[in-house]
């Protein structure tokens, strides 16, 4: 297992390098002058030329990329074009905020979505089922920014129990996490429900029922353990989506996180900041996916066996990076 983890981590490196190259290329080769975007459209040309020289923008693209990436490999993420300060120090402050919102959003969506989906599957065609499906439909349809603003209006202006902006206390994170969790919970509910339903229809469940096994034991021991695998897959996929969703959330709630700085940096073409943020996000998603794959091993012994046989020469059963086991 340990070897498997190391192998996965090593595989992440070329992926991240490839991402960084593509992003750096896109930013550098598209029109738009960072110096003019940062200092202002009407800045004096002398000042602009000096800034361009200062930022090293007159070097050819490959040279700039190589300089940047050689810095990254020793842990130096470069200096932001906008502030001149090290990118790493800025991102270190902002990363926790985004992670809190993203993980909080996923956690809340699982805490709501999975039980609701399960109840919906077990008690199919009852009120609980209809309620869950309707709620899922509504939450999928409602866009995040609208929900966020409505929650802001209600909890900040009407009930006055939560602050609108900032990131100093836990209260600031309640609404962002709820907003993010809303649509994710909808997906979780539906996936859980359909996966559990499939398991419930299996013959071995019917056998257990016929044998007289109590229903709660059936649900806990058989239905959940067998049905949870697709749900875990969806959670893993959702992490990437949630991180994207935090951009909108951070803008609405004025939380200084990676999403907002990424969007602002793209607007002014602050290349070191953009590429470094994306590298961090890619690494984070890679690690999350790795964790999800490890969780598979603990749920499904068949998969655990596959991981342990990674070092053996059994052709097709070798796991590849990021892919689920066939």
């Amino acid at each position: 297992m340990f070897r498997y983890i190391i192998k996965r981590l090593i595989y992440m490196i070329p992926v991240v390098l490839g991402i960084s190259f593509v992003v750096y290329a896109i930013i550098s080769l598209t029109p738009g002058d960072p110096a003019q975007l940062i200092l202002g459209a009407d800045t004096d040309p002398v000042v602009l030329a000096a800034k361009r020289a200062e930022l090293g923008l007159n070097d050819p693209f490959l040279i700039r990329y190589l300089k940047y990436i050689s810095g990254v490999l020793v842990g130096n993420l470069g200096n932001s074009y906008r502030t001149g300060l090290p990118v790493l120090s800025e991102l270190i402050i902002r990363l926790p905020n985004t992670i809190i919102i993203a993980l909080g959003g996923i956690g809340l969506s699982v805490a709501i979505g999975v039980p609701l989906g399960l109840a919906s599957a077990v008690k199919q065609y009852t009120f609980v089922d209809y309620f869950a499906r309707t709620l899922a439909l509504l939450l999928t349809a409602i866009p995040a920014f609208w929900l966020g603003l409505m929650l802001l209006l209600f909890f900040v202006l009407n009930l006055k129990i939560l602050p609108a902006t900032g990131a100093n206390s836990w209260k600031n994170f309640v609404l962002p996490i709820v907003t993010l969790a809303a649509s994710a919970a909808a997906t979780q509910t539906r996936t859980t429900r359909s996966s559990m339903l499939e398991v419930i229809r299996q013959d071995y469940i019917r056998t257990a029922l016929a044998k007289g096994v109590p229903e709660s034991r059936i649900i806990w021991k058989h239905v959940i353990r067998n049905g949870i695998l697709p749900v875990v897959t969806i959670i893993g996929m959702n992490i990437g989506v949630q991180l994207g969703g935090t951009v909108v959330i951070e803008n609405i709630f004025a939380i200084p996180g990676m999403g907002s700085i990424l969007v602002n940096s793209v607007r002014i073409k602050d290349t070191p900041m953009i590429v470094s943020s994306i590298i961090l996000v890619a690494v984070f998603i890679g690690i999350c996916n790795l964790l999800v794959d490890i969780v598979y091993a603990y749920i499904d012994p068949r998969i655990k066996a596959q991981y342990f046989s990674v070092t053996s020469k059994r052709g097709k059963t070798k796991t590849k990076t990021g892919g689920t086991v066939a």
Binding site: T30, P31, G32, D33, Q36, L37, I38, L39, G40, A41, D42, T43, D44, P45, V46, V47, R82, T83, G84, L85, E90, I93, R94, Y125, F127, Y130, F131, R133, T134, L135, L137, L138, L149, M150, L152, L153, F154, V156, L157, N158, K160, P163, A164, T165, G166, A167, N251, I252, F253, A254, P256, S260, I261, N264, R267, I268, K269
Partner: protein, 519 residues
Amino acid sequence: MKNYLKCLLLLSLSMLASFMLSACSGEKTTSTPQESKGEDSLIFGLIQEPTTLDSLTSAERITWLPVSAIYDTIVFKDDDQKLLPGLAEEWDISDDGLTYTFKIREGVKFHNGETLTADDVAFTIEKLRVLQKSEFGVISSVDIIDDTHVKITLESAFSPMLYLFTLPQTGVVNKAAYEADPESYGRKPNGTGPFKFSSWLSGEDIVLDHFEDYWRGAAPMTSITFRIIADESTEIIALEANEINAYIQVSQSYRQVVEGNEQLAWYDTPSGQVNTLAFNNGNYSNGEPSIFADNKALRQAICYAINKDDLVIGAVDGTSDPLYTPYPEFVINYPEEFDGNVYNPELAKEKLAEAGYPDGLTIKMRTTTQANYSKPAEVIMGQLSEIGITMELETMERGTYLEEVYNNFDYDMTIWAVSCDYPDVNHGAYRRFYSGMIAPANNYMQINDPALDEAILTNRTSIDPAEKAAAVLRIAEIIRDESYCLPLYCSQQTLATNANLKGVNLNSGMGIDFYRWSW
């Protein structure tokens, strides 16, 4: 299915009810206590983070807000745009208008404790000559006469000179600190203004504390926090919840919300920004001429096809009046009885035929995605279709727009603003209409007209008031007759604040005198 529908209805109704409640409920009379450094502090919401707090290199308008609190300028101006002594107690202008001698106030302290001397003022002006050449290049030399006197010599008479020294981007810096480390001056500024820099948490807050040793006496406000909130709806909610106390450049769509709330106050004033329909009067970057180059009739056709009364309703909900001069109404020598081109669709069609397009044509307009440029574009598209011109609107991302249109002149028509931040037409006219300024980010319309150049130079250098007034009128007449561009309207500068704030002031060009604000 019946159950399903029942549930859907129930849930939707309950959600709708709760949201309607929140939207329509009346205002509470007590506001939440201010979460800040005490009752006398101000929290100002900014939609964008400033890039620097160094006055000399600050070119973005939003940066001028904290900059005007941190620095003092050599000359001040009051709410009616009259000049007042600033860091210069008095000044003397030679008869030929070429020499200005300033007497610098004594006993003024910088935030770092040093005393202001003529050295700092001279250093600042020298830097301005280099860093803001398009405006200050007219100064040929700066001399220090003694500890309290600075003399500047101009290459030609320049009547708006003193106005230039009132702009926030001319705030006086400390020579020693600036020379020691110019790069970090922008993150750790040092000025003589009423507020000194305290901290800058990137992406969140810029905090300024009031300067106890300020030469006019400490400001009533003990601190100002500039909070960055990127979304406009959140700014308004934060304003209503008293989490921020003021917010500038509010969209007109929020006017009713602010005016309807008795805890908030709405201020507006004409900004110096004239939204203008610009034609490319020269060549593209590849050397080919644009369709408007040398085709006056086509330009005139388009100008006659625009109904400005409808345009201001469509673009800014009627909150500005149509403008017929290429400069705002607050400039000196504004020609009161000017006859601009009025809407005349028959004449437009005639001119179109004269231009060689009797059956109409397709023209492309390129703008940024900003609403104050793309909305008028949409109205114009409709108006031009009525005379047979099909307009294709291409909205571009700002970086691409600046590079292709603003720098490289690869466009036929666009909408941009001609700014006039002080009450003299020179600011907009020289930069945007003078042939010598055809360069990236300056005279992007590539206007090259000797008579217009002469009028601009006369206004700029003449010290005879009658001559100046005639020149100002000439500028408007030539732009109207040749139709190099079409001024549309002067946009409004808007500010929403907590109603309890006193001494609130606002003038064109993002100038705010925070010294006068108090609770």
